[in-house]
């Protein structure tokens, strides 16, 4: 019995240590933020790697999620003669929830893991130690550009996801299901307001910060071995996903409009 309690205590200690190390790491990044924009080339390279190259996956995902939403909601809404509302339904779900969440989850899988693996391999092959020897700050040179690129990319990717989702819903709704396109767009307009778009953007910003912070943190502190790098990539995806879903609940509860 005392062994179980002791194990739990040790596990809790590990958790607290990791969490604390993560907080300290986040704090360490802060002072670099303004200076990082003095070397925009580093950031734009990373935006290319983790943002622009994720575009195909995000666009594909958005289009198909929108199309499925339209098909799925049609079967219920048509029963009440409300087939016109599929656009409003799909658009509200996409802009407020699915766009930010699914885009961030896809981003964590596509780019967060890649960042963790890349930085982790730099650690494992002593490139980071070499930079320190040459008096190049690895945080300034490697970590911060990737973090900033992620924070910039995720909101843009989420917006692209939502926009393509609405277009996908329009494609299926007006093309396949015979909903009038004017009714489709006017219902969307009646349903979506600026606050919905703003809360979606806020969410994706928070998700972007968590996804990219997690990626660089796990990579930077990866165990210097093949197993350590793979563990860092896995942990990034798992922990980021949990965070995204957790933050999504909190932010939804906070930004829910009064009905």
């Amino acid at each position: 019995m005392s062994k179980v309690i002791r194990d739990c205590w040790i596990e809790f200690g590990h958790f607290a240590a990791t969490f604390g190390a993560f907080q300290i790491f986040s704090m360490r990044l802060l002072p670099y933020m303004p200076g990082a924009f003095l070397r925009p080339r580093l950031i734009s390279e990373q935006i290319y790697n983790i943002g622009a190259l994720s575009l195909v996956l995000i666009m594909f995902g958005g289009l198909f999620v929108g199309m499925v939403l339209a098909l799925q909601s049609y079967s219920t809404l048509a029963e009440f003669g409300q087939a016109d509302s599929i656009g409003a339904f799909a658009a509200e779900a996409l802009v407020r929830e699915l766009g930010p969440v699914i885009a961030a989850l896809l981003f964590a899988g596509r780019a967060g893991s890649a960042v963790a693996a890349e930085v982790g391999l730099m650690r494992a092959t002593d490139q980071i130690a070499a930079m320190e020897l040459m008096a190049v700050d690895p945080i300034r040179r490697v970590v911060v550009p990737r973090f900033i690129a992620g924070v910039i990319s995720v909101p843009l990717l989420a917006a692209i996801f939502s926009a393509l989702g609405v277009l996908g819903a329009c494609l299926v709704g007006t093309g396949l299901l015979g909903v009038d396109s004017g009714a489709f767009w006017s219902q969307i307009q009646g349903r979506i307001d600026l606050q919905d778009v703003a809360s979606g953007l806020l969410k994706s910003l928070v998700f972007g910060i968590s996804a990219s912070l997690m990626g660089v943190y796990e990579g930077y502190f990866a165990a210097p071995s093949a197993a350590g790098v793979s563990r860092a990539a896995t942990r990034t995806v798992v922990i980021t996903s949990v965070w995204i879903l957790l933050f999504d609940f909190i932010l939804t509860a906070l930004t829910l409009p009064e009905v």
Partner: protein, 157 residues
């Protein structure tokens, strides 16, 4: 170096433009923008006592077929009527001047649209004409209220 760096610049630029474009698209959906009638169209006005929740871009239909869109809804500060601007495809420029406009509902709870009933006059509606015979939206809750209070439904006016 310069070639691949240029390719990266171009992709990043396109990516950011696309992202900002998507944000603009989503924000634009929160405001109305008319002009969804493709091709040639002409505009007529109609005044209603009450438009219900008719929205810009709602369909204008003739015999159940969409022939145009609502392009603007405003209110006349003098006679307190709602002015609804209808954009009708130029293909249908033979509507008689005594055509009437009714605000109808799709289904029991669905969105509002405008149904046109053609009259019999030989003169036809032209650009910026006004439809004289209109019927306002039927407010379901008012009807129910009347039934509940009086037991029979009197016509509103």
């Amino acid at each position: 170096m310069s070639n691949s760096a240029r390719a990266i610049d171009v992709s990043v630029g396109l990516f950011i433009l696309l992202g900002l474009g998507a944000v603009t698209f989503l924000v634009a959906q929160t405001f109305g923008s008319g002009g969804l009638v493709s091709g040639e169209f002409y505009t007529v006005q109609a005044r209603f006592g009450h438009v219900g929740d008719l929205k810009v871009r709602a369909p204008v239909s003739l015999a159940g077929v969409t022939i145009g869109r609502v392009s603007e809804i405003s209110v006349d500060p003098i006679d307190y009527k709602a002015i609804v601007e209808l954009r009708i495809s130029s293909q249908f420029d033979q509507l008689p001047v005594d055509t009437d406009a009714t605000i109808a509902t799709t289904g029991l709870l669905g969105g509002k649209y405008i149904e046109l009933g053609p009259g019999g006059d030989v003169e036809v509606l032209k650009d910026h004409d006004e439809i004289q015979i209109t019927q306002s939206a039927i407010l379901l809750e008012n009807l129910i209220g009347k039934y509940l209070l009086t037991g029979n439904a009197e016509p509103k006016e």
